[in-house]
């Protein structure tokens, strides 16, 4: 491409620092003498940080149980057999007995984990209608096309909430029972089912449609629940602040996971005697087994975990910091050797010249 520089004719060019490329500038140079201390400092800092992270991660307790019910793995197998051919969920329950030899320090969080479940599949993850979920009445009855084939029921009724994500809402439920004394009765541990979703999600992003005559059910009139749901969306919870689109289980599920193996928060244990953690003793988790995963080769796990400032148990960050820190130190030494050996040589070269 051609262009002609504006003919300045007889005009002398502007003499500014910019046009003459002589702007004052800082001219740093990444030489060994700068890099060496930098590497050592960074290395030491990283190792220190890594040790802290590593121990902090090690201090976190995690207890998990695979209740998929593959044959011979506890009493969930009976329920699992039924889901082999994707039968509609039948009310099957099973339980997991475990005992804690010592206090499981709180606050304790209860997660469920699914494997081999592709929430991040593109077709799946777009199959939702955020406008509908924001409670817009017009969108409620006109679900987006992305929701297909979960856009309308065969009867033509619009599905609310539409889409594959909503339709596949995780519907196992858990209750935790504690046997304080050996042989004693099991007491139900209160599970806090709120505060499990992002605050902004269930207060801003997800809204129920405006109530009709004070009733949420009427607001949803003219819509149908997703095909897999046994009950409509407004009956997800008896709590009026936790039902409909703002039901926290639902909101949690709607935040699609990044990887095919993922955990989602089910409940927090922070009430009554259990605010400091789960005391020692025998426990029982009662599982209502609804959700079929064996059809796609997946697993279901239930996980108890406590949490530090850095979240759940994850040794990766600590180890990574340790490794990188050590590498920095190692490189620092390599550079030091090179620096000492070749510095002399360079000086000699210069002297020669």
């Amino acid at each position: 491409m051609t262009w002609s520089a504006t003919a300045r004719g007889a005009h002398q060019p502007d003499n500014t620092a910019f046009t003459q490329q002589r702007l004052p500038a800082w001219q740093p140079l990444l030489s060994a003498s700068i890099a060496l201390p930098l590497f050592f400092c960074a290395g030491l800092a990283f190792i220190g940080l890594g040790l802290g992270l590593f121990y902090s991660s090690n201090g976190i307790k995690e207890l998990e149980y695979d209740y998929t019910g593959n044959p011979g793995t506890g009493n969930c197998s009976a329920c699992a057999l039924a889901d082999r051919d994707r039968a509609p969920p039948l009310r099957c329950s099973c339980s997991w007995y475990f005992s804690l030899p010592e206090l499981f320090p709180g606050p304790v969080y209860l997660y469920y984990e699914l494997t081999n479940f592709y929430q991040n599949n593109r077709r799946y993850s777009v199959s939702r209608d955020d406008t509908q979920l924001s409670g817009l009445p017009s969108a409620l009855r006109h679900p987006a096309n992305e929701c297909a084939p979960y856009q309308r029921r065969a009867s033509g009724l619009p599905i609310a909430p539409c889409g594959a994500i909503a339709n596949s809402l995780f519907n196992d439920s858990f209750s935790l029972w504690h046997q304080r004394q050996p042989g004693g009765p099991y007491v139900e541990v209160p599970l806090d089912r709120t505060g499990i979703a992002w605050w902004t999600d269930c207060h801003v992003k997800f809204r129920n449609p405006p109530l009709v005559n004070g009733s949420l059910a009427l607001a949803f009139r003219g819509t149908a629940p997703p095909p897999n749901w046994p009950r409509p969306v407004y009956e997800l919870s008896p709590d009026p602040n936790n039902t409909g689109f703002i039901n926290q289980d639902f909101v949690v599920w709607m935040r699609t996971a990044a990887l095919p193996t993922f955990r989602k928060l089910y409940a927090r244990i922070r009430q009554g005697n259990y605010s400091t953690g789960l005391p020692r003793g025998a426990y029982l988790v009662n599982i209502t087994y609804n959700y079929p995963v064996r059809a796609f080769g997946g697993h279901k796990l239930i996980v108890f975990s406590n949490i530090s400032w850095m979240g759940g148990k994850n040794p990766f960050l600590g180890i990574a910091y340790l490794v990188v820190g050590s590498l920095c130190i190692l490189m620092g030494f390599v550079m030091l050797v090179v620096y000492i050996r070749y510095q002399d040589q360079n000086d000699e070269d210069e002297d020669e010249e």
């Binding site: 520089a5 502007d14 046009t19 599949n121 499990i196 801003v204 990887l259 994850n314 360079n346 010249e353």
Partner: protein, 1101 residues
């Protein structure tokens, strides 16, 4: 001559049914010729409108779009955009549509810069009432300096008067009228047929080495892109072969999706993957490169040091496409006269019959006392000799094509002919002016040409009038010109001046030997020499000559050849009068510039039409040859002695034997003891080498010749025809190393070489703007070449190569995680990043830092580059875009991408990273990767930046800040126009997590670590010259340590001297013949402007 009545507007000629005709006929005033003369053919010529611009107001948008989409890259992006519109793809069409729109708009804006010019020729309203004539002329052709035509003027009842029309009768489009109120003109070529219009289009597009590498890299990336998409498509179908993966119960397909044909589905998937990964070929790279070149070239025009105060001219940039090529030059081909020298001639001496006259000491024939120098070297001549002497001066006063102008508002070389009068001499050849001026100082003043009479003022202050009968104008083949004049006493003289080689063979009388000796001596000293001869014609002879010339002149076919033959017959049996010597000074700092360029590893070749001795003297003076340079001659003389074959083999043996034992770089310039060679070749020898041999082994001599040249630090080609200059450039350009060539020249005869070379540089000289106009860059002086190449070229090269590499790097970083993510999302083409991030990554988050880097970066300071030319070698041979470097950058990108992706992956695997136990989703995952990436690639650039002005600080930290602010904003609001709110609070939530911060810091560190390590180690272990200089500067030592080391032992006089026998001149001497060589270059003033003295200056484009 009558024909001056009809000046013609030259216009180019339109194609059509006339094309096959050799000549066209124009009827002046559209009046039919008298019956019987010729058949009248009604005229149909194009309308006189020239659209020199590419676009008009109406067709701009469609035509510009079409032009742009013809570029393969833009077409590719258009296809991607269309695919996104048509099929169901993971990314919204906006992500590629917006950048494409941006690119197209910016390019279009850039093109409007020069698009809006639409010129109209002018119509002459005035009728030429009194004239009844037809003009026959050749069909339009682009050669500006050639025109053949004739005019038939019909008088009442008589046979038509036929007069020749040549290029001197032609006014080109855009010419301005001077010295006269009006002229009569006939338009012969109109509109798009004008020669000028034809010349507009004939420029070929040059592409730089960087651009070529860029295109190769693009192809590599295209292959990577396609293979990525293929791999993913195949894996997708392998993976999906299990039905529960293809369609698990939670993610069922619609009925139409199920029924779609498998192959169609696979193809759609392939396209979708292509779309997903298409960012690896960065659309924005083109716009950034364009902007970098466009804006960057302003630094040349702005450069104060390249501004010439004397002429008021600054450098010109005619194309911004080749900026970086200035940093890659390996061969410089330079013209001599006007390029290396000032083309400012000074009459030094003349030699009449063996007596030497030095004009500066002589005034009006009398020796001025007290002046230095010698008035006459020999004792006063006798009476007969005095007559000869006066004849010589008269010859010089008459034999030229100078015009005298009272006004001093003229272009071209000028000098006041007389301090008392305010008139100046104008000629296209500075030599002629110098000669006439010199003769003036010797007592004979040329006054003017009036009514075809030349008036001269002789020593006695009498006016002598000579009738000008004929001018046998100059051409470069004859290398001489003649005039035929009639003195007041009725004697007819033919005066001829020309190169010694073309005069001596035609001389039958005169002191040839003495004059020849003097001429040779002067040539050795670098003076431009001319010989002057005359002969007296008796009227009968003149009649014969006149008829001969007239016949040749009016010929429409083969006019040139016929004229040459006629001239040959007329200019013979001459009597030698004497010789002149004119000095052309070397340009200021020419020697310094050449020395610097050679130290920079550039081979400098001088191509000149001058004779060998003159040219060699120049080469010594400008340090192209040094004292220790061993000269190899490959000249006609030598070839006459031995066969070409033997000479070549002998030379190559000499050269190779030496270079074989040489370990150091052949002309590193650092050691004084090494032998370097200079080659001198002349035009005739060159054409022998270029000529294919009969036995078909044509390549042999060329290869041998190239081999010799390669081992010579300097080559001088003398006696070159203009076309040979281009030929030699082409020879080197196409030799097996494909070196980058640069041609620099100032005259029209350099245009072919300027167009041929990779980079053509015009010196805005005294010989008009032909070269400057056809060049890629134009500079006022040769010395500016040093800064142009060593500083600007170097900067442009490192800037753009970093730009190219960095763009590929950052897009590998960008896209490779997407590729990896496919393995974890069931090959479903899920994007890792949000649409806004996909769209804005290249056009706003990471665009400005690299653009500003590529405008501002100075890895070493301007002064260091100028003082240490050898740094130029560090970037020779496209060093920063070699495969090794490219692969390094690509692998760095892949490594960084792996770090980003798997860092985030292990972080997200099976755990929560918040202190409230809540879980992040896939958009947080992508945002985390993206954040690390934006920071890493920006900081990588920061690591590469050596020159941090406030602007760099502003854009680097500013664009990081912009990313953060944008992300906060993008995630902070429910955007009503979006039908998804997937980014809502994602960024803020991510920042609320401590481990995310720690991870970001860790991953950025890990990504930058290898590059830092590589930089430090390579600087320490294998420092390049540039890195050494950088370190020296940082250590606070003198930044210019090698100044003295690199300098050659200076010769005591300011000018190096030709080591011949007569060498004690302290000043620089310049070369012969250029005056004659130059006079054919100009379209400019007609030599005999007619009674009105009307004249035209060369048109300006």
């Amino acid at each position: 001559m009558d024909c001056s009545l009809v000046r013609t507007l030259v216009h180019r000629y339109c194609a059509g049914e006339e094309n096959w005709v050799d000549s066209r006929t124009i009827y002046v005033g559209h009046r039919e010729p008298p019956p019987g003369a010729e058949a009248y053919i009604p005229q149909r010529h194009p309308d006189n409108r020239i659209v020199s611009s590419k676009y008009t107001f109406w067709n701009f948008i469609p035509k510009n779009l079409f032009e742009q989409f013809r570029r393969i890259a833009n077409f590719y992006f258009l296809i991607i955009f269309l695919v996104q519109l048509i099929i169901d793809t993971p990314t919204s069409p906006v992500t590629s549509g917006l950048p494409l729109f941006f690119v197209i708009t910016v390019t279009a804006i850039k093109q409007t810069h020069y698009a809006v010019q639409d010129t109209k020729g002018f119509h002459t309203a005035e009728d030429i009432d009194g004239l009844h004539a037809t003009i026959e002329c050749e069909q339009p052709q682009p050669d500006l300096y050639k025109f053949v035509g004739r005019i038939n003027v019909y008088n009442d009842r008589n046979d038509p008067v036929v007069r020749p029309l040549g290029s001197e009768n032609l006014l080109l489009r855009g010419a301005t009228l001077k010295n006269t109120e009006k002229i009569f003109g006939v338009a012969i070529y109109t509109g798009m047929e004008t020669k000028m219009a034809l010349n507009y289009q004939s420029k070929s597009q040059k592409r730089s080495a960087v651009e070529k590498s860029m295109n190769v890299f693009l192809i590599v990336y295209l292959c990577i892109l396609i293979s990525k998409a293929l791999i993913n498509t195949i894996l997708k179908y392998v993976w999906q072969s299990e039905p529960f993966r293809d369609e698990p119960w939670y993610n069922q397909k619609t009925e139409s999706e199920r029924q779609r044909n498998l192959f169609l589905r696979a193809f759609t998937d392939f396209l979708a993957f292509m779309v997903l990964f298409n960012y690896i070929i960065p659309v924005s790279m083109y716009v950034t490169v364009e902007m970098q070149k466009f804006l960057g070239s302003y630094f040349i025009t702005w450069d104060e040091e390249m501004f010439d105060e004397d002429t008021g001219e600054g450098p010109l940039v005619n194309t911004s496409d080749l900026n970086e090529e200035l940093g890659q030059v390996e061969y410089i081909f330079t013209d001599k006269t006007g390029t290396l020298t000032e083309n400012n001639m000074e009459f030094k001496e003349c030699c009449i019959e063996g007596h030497v006259y030095v004009p500066h000491a002589v005034c009006n024939g009398q020796v001025l006392p007290g002046t230095s120098g010698i008035d006459m070297i020999d004792s006063s001549p006798g009476a007969g000799a005095r007559e000869r002497e006066e004849l010589f001066f008269r010859a010089l006063c008459l034999c030229h094509t100078i015009q005298v102008k009272d006004d001093d508002d003229v272009d071209g070389p000028r000098k006041s002919p007389d301090s008392g009068k305010s008139c100046v001499y104008i000629s296209s050849s500075p030599d002629e002016v110098a000669l006439v001026e010199g003769v003036q100082r010797l007592g004979f003043t040329y006054l003017r040409l009036k009514d075809n009479y030349m008036e001269i003022l002789n020593r006695e202050n009498d006016v002598e009038r000579f009738e000008l009968l004929e001018i046998l104008s100059f051409d470069s083949v004859r290398r001489r010109m003649s005039v035929i004049v009639k003195s007041a006493t009725g004697e007819i003289y033919l005066f001829c001046k020309g190169a010694d080689s073309s005069i001596f063979p035609r001389v039958i009388e005169g002191k040839v030997d003495q004059i020849r000796a003097r001429v040779e001596r002067n040539a050795v000293e670098g003076l431009r020499t001319l010989c002057v001869a005359y002969k007296r014609l008796i009227p009968e002879e003149y009649e014969g000559v006149c008829a001969l010339l007239q016949a040749a002149k009016v010929a429409l076919q083969d006019r040139e050849r016929k004229l040459a033959e006629a001239y040959e017959q007329v200019e013979k049996d001459l009597i030698l009068l004497g010789a002149t010597a004119v000095e052309d000074r070397l340009q200021e700092k020419a020697a310094d510039t050449i020395e610097a360029l050679q130290k920079a590893g550039i081979k400098v070749w001088v191509l000149t039409g001058d004779k060998m001795e003159t040219a060699a003297a120049t080469c010594y003076a400008c340090k192209l040859f040094r004292r220790n340079t061993q000269l190899l001659e490959l000249t006609t003389k030598k070839i006459e002695e031995q066969s070409l074959h033997d000479v070549l083999f002998e030379l190559s043996k000499t050269v190779l034997r030496h270079s074989g034992s040489l370990t150091r770089d052949n002309f590193s310039g650092l050691s004084a003891d090494m032998q370097d060679y200079g080659l001198i070749i002349d035009g005739a020898a060159l054409s022998l080498i270029m000529k294919p041999r009969e036995d078909g082994s044509c390549g042999n001599y060329r290869e041998l010749f190239l081999e010799i040249c390669r081992n010579c630090s300097a080559v001088l080609c003398c006696r070159m025809a203009p076309l040979q200059k281009a030929q030699i450039v082409k020879l080197i350009k196409l030799s097996k190393e494909h070196p980058i060539t640069l041609a620099v020249g100032d005259g029209a005869n350099d245009v072919s070489m300027i167009l041929e070379a990779h980079v053509g540089i015009g010196v805005i000289g005294k010989e008009g703007r032909q070269a400057a106009r056809n060049s890629d860059y134009a500079v006022p002086k040769f010395k500016h070449l040093k800064k142009m190449l060593l500083v600007h070229g170097h900067f442009y090269y490192i800037r753009i190569s970093e730009l190219v590499q960095y763009f590929f790097y950052k897009n590998v970083c960008f896209i490779f995680p997407q590729f990896l993510y496919q393995f974890f999302c069931g090959f479903s083409q899920q994007t890792l990043y949000d649409t806004a991030y996909l769209t804005l990554y290249n056009i706003s988050f990471t665009s400005l830092p690299i653009l500003l880097y590529s405008l501002m970066e100075q890895h070493v300071s301007i002064d260091t580059l100028r003082r240490d030319p050898s740094l130029y070698r560090d970037i020779a041979k496209n060093a920063l875009l070699r495969w090794r470097v490219f692969i390094y950058w690509t692998f760095l990108g892949v490594f960084d991408a792996l770090v980003f992706f798997f860092g985030a992956y292990f972080m997200f695997e099976n755990t929560t990273v918040t202190s409230n136990g809540q879980i992040f989703g896939n958009w947080t995952f992508g945002t985390l990767v993206f954040t690390v990436m934006v920071f890493t690639v920006t900081l990588k650039l920061a690591l590469d930046t050596h020159y941090w002005t406030w602007i760099n600080h502003f854009v680097i930290w500013g664009s990081l800040l912009f990313y953060v602010v944008f992300s906060l904003l993008w995630g902070g609001i429910i955007w009503p126009f979006l039908n998804y709110q997937r980014m809502y609070y994602v960024f803020i939530q991510m920042l609320s997590s401590g481990p995310a911060w720690l991870l970001i810091i860790l991953l950025i560190t890990v990504s930058l670590l290898p590059d830092v390590l590589k930089k430090v180690l390579s600087r320490q272990l294998w420092p390049s010259a540039t890195e050494r200089v950088q370190s020296t500067c940082v250590r606070g030592q003198d930044c210019l340590p090698e100044l003295t080391l690199l300098a050659y032992p200076q010769s005591p006089s300011p000018w190096a001297v030709w080591p011949g026998p007569h060498t004690k001149q302290g000043t620089l001497m310049w070369s012969p013949l250029a005056g004659l060589l130059h006079s054919h270059r100009h379209p400019g003033p007609a030599p005999h402007g007619g009674p009105t003295g009307g004249q035209a200056t060369s048109p300006s484009l």
